[in-house]
């Protein structure tokens, strides 16, 4: 069944070209049998028109969609014009050959039966095996020409019929470089999706866990200690609100395909708010952020995220609770350096937060390093200036 479908699709693929090749028959017929030069000239004009079709971009588009639909070619829509023209030419030639072959078959059969009749009457010995096989006698230049045209047409038709899918994929198909580029784009898309999944995993999943626990605490304590229950509920509220904002952020990236500046992250002030928040929570922050820091709008959410992670990290690990934060914008790009003291030497564990920073930096063509130097944990992130964000 499958093979039958393939056969049918190949036939359908050749038919349009065969129709375009019909003027050939018209030329031959009028030249040999009607003997009216005007009709022959009309046929020749038709033939030229058919060949001219091979150079029209609109025909190339048709060729591509035919190849894609009927031959299953992975078509390169932006392929070179020359390739398309060559393929259209070969396609037309195949259609013309098929027409010639199909029309000459009855002639050949007639010849063959004539030869067979001769053979039965004892004259066959005068023919060569090839002549007998082809059903013709190569006794005049015209017959030789006819034989060559017929043999050429039929063999080219057969070769094209068998090889058209391969030819299409070579000439019209996407090159290896294109496919590599696409798989690279896929990989980047996947990396972004993973990053988003990790975002949701980190922020929303964790927030939900805390919110449920705090809600349980509130429920357990409400009759025992109303103040405690109230605390728990306030925590639930703030945790949920933050998770909601995080989720909005992630969903916005998902919907638009590329990081956009979110409603929260309108300007650098939101980063200032973030710093104020951790200062209220008891972290001493020495922030060096130039007032004239000019950050591209699309970079802001990433910058915000990185600063947020750095602050969270310092909140958890800085002993004493202290952080030096520096943001610089130079010709090379953005640089974010966060340093906090750590006690107890080197902690090798790199949490999901830092991995998230690294993933973001790498995706944007930058880099991120984190290490402990002389009792200080140093996070150094570099982001190049915006060129293109992988879609």
């Amino acid at each position: 069944m499958n093979r039958f479908m393939t056969l049918l699709q190949r036939i359908l693929f050749v038919i349009p070209a065969a129709i375009a090749g019909l003027p050939v028959l018209f030329v031959v017929f009028t030249y040999f049998f009607v003997d009216d030069p005007v009709l022959t000239v009309i046929g020749v004009v038709g033939l030229i028109a058919s060949v001219a079709l091979c150079f029209l971009p609109v025909i190339h588009r048709g060729e591509k969609s035919l190849a894609s639909e009927l031959l299953g070619t992975d078509v390169d829509e932006d392929g070179a014009y020359r390739n398309s023209a060559i393929f259209a030419g070969l396609h037309l030639l195949a259609g013309t050959s098929t027409v010639i072959a199909v029309c000459l078959i009855p002639v050949a059969i007639g010849e063959l039966s004539w030869r067979l009749k001769d053979a039965f009457s004892g004259k066959w010995a005068t023919s060569t095996a090839v002549e007998l096989l082809m059903g013709t006698v190569l006794d005049s230049p015209f017959r030789v020409l006819l034989f060559v045209v017929f043999a050429g047409a039929i063999s080219y038709s057969v070769v094209f019929f068998i090889g058209c899918a391969f030819l299409a994929s070579r000439v019209l198909g996407r090159s290896l470089e294109d496919k590599l580029a696409e798989s690279e784009a896929d990989r980047k898309r996947l990396a972004i999706q993973n990053e988003l999944a990790r975002d949701i995993h980190d922020s929303v999943g964790h927030a939900l866990t805390i919110a449920s626990l705090q809600a349980e605490r509130g429920r357990a304590r409400i009759d025992v200690d109303a103040g405690d229950a109230k605390d728990a509920l306030s925590t639930v509220l703030s945790v949920c609100q933050r998770a909601q904002a995080d989720l909005d952020d992630v969903l916005r990236v998902l919907r638009t395909g590329a990081p956009r500046s979110s409603t929260q992250v309108k300007d650098l002030r939101s980063i200032g708010d973030l710093i104020d928040e951790v200062r209220n929570a008891g972290l001493v922050v020495d922030a060096a952020i130039p007032l004239n820091l000019d950050v591209a709008e699309d970079r802001l959410p990433v910058l915000y995220r990185i600063v947020q992670e750095a602050l969270t990290n310092a909140m958890r690990y800085a002993r004493p609770h202290e952080l030096r934060l520096r943001i610089e914008n130079s010709a090379d790009g953005l640089r974010i350096v966060a340093e906090n003291p750590v006690d107890g030497g080197t902690d090798s564990g790199v949490g999901k937060g830092l991995q998230g920073i690294e993933a973001r930096a790498l995706l944007l063509g930058g880099s991120s390093s984190a290490h402990v130097v002389a009792g200080w944990f140093v996070l150094d992130v570099r982001l190049p200036h915006l060129e293109e964000v992988p879609a």
Binding site: H201, G205, H206, L208, T209, I210, S212, L213, Q214, E216, R217, G218, R219, A220, R221, V224, D228, A232, T235, V239, R316, Y317, D343, G344, D347, G349, G351
Partner: protein, 231 residues
């Protein structure tokens, strides 16, 4: 009354857990700790029956604290690992180091309370179905093959080990096998002795590592199903 020590670096998790668990009359929170170091000190001082131990913490982590406490013969408490996600890589390590089981922070509080009771009773093991998968993903090469386990244990003991791996306690196994609880107890002890392991959890890890228990536990009434049915 079960005395609890809650160890987590995040204050909101600690306050949430202790507040929420305070509603259960049989549980008493005796202390909280924010990292592995303070956890070890607090555990020695407060002698809790059960320690709820987070794994990833700044400074000293839950793994090394678990190891120190389970190696300490004077400490008789049970350690349950607290984790946010059941696919956590560290969960298996903590279990291998001697934690009795693990709890997901996102479980409903009644289920967490149940798991604490079950673990402190010591008659069954506490972990979700995913343990088999975690062991398969992170486990060390089996110390014994499935065939060796089968050769070492009597057919009856093999059946008992499979039930233990499915998370059943002694009474449930007794009921299912139509024998007395004492018979089950002696068979479980014999299994622990023959496998040379400290407790049921370690026996179950051996069973999963070797593949001895993998197939049956899935179709059986698992610890997960059992925990949820008790609610």
């Amino acid at each position: 009354m079960i005395d609890l020590l809650i160890v987590d670096d995040e204050p909101l998790i600690r306050s949430g857990l202790s507040g929420a668990l305070s509603q259960f009359p049989h549980l008493r929170i005796v202390g909280e700790a924010e990292d592995g170091e303070t956890a070890v000190t607090a555990a020695r001082q407060l002698r809790p029956d059960v320690v709820l131990m987070d794994v990833r913490m700044p400074g000293r982590d839950g793994l090394s604290a678990t190891k120190e406490l389970t190696d300490d013969r004077s400490f008789s408490g049970t350690i349950l690992v607290l984790t946010t996600f059941d696919s956590d890589d560290y969960v298996y390590q903590a279990m291998a180091l001697g934690a009795r089981g693990f709890l997901l922070k996102r479980w409903p509080i009644a289920r967490i309370a149940d798991a604490i009771s079950i673990a402190s009773a010591g008659e069954s093991v506490v972990f979700p179905d995913s343990l088999a998968r975690i062991v398969a993903d992170h486990g060390s090469p089996p110390k014994r093959s499935s065939g060796e386990i089968e050769a070492e244990l009597t057919p009856r003991e093999q059946v008992v080990l499979k039930q233990v791996a499915a998370g059943l306690n002694n009474a449930e196994i007794a009921e299912r096998l139509h024998v007395t609880v004492d018979t089950v107890k002696s068979q479980v002890s014999s299994v622990l002795l023959k496998l040379n392991v400290r407790d049921r959890t370690q026996a179950v890890i051996r069973a999963f590592e070797s593949g001895f228990a993998a197939a049956e536990s899935g179709s059986d009434r698992s610890a997960e199903a059992r925990l949820s049915s008790r609610r």
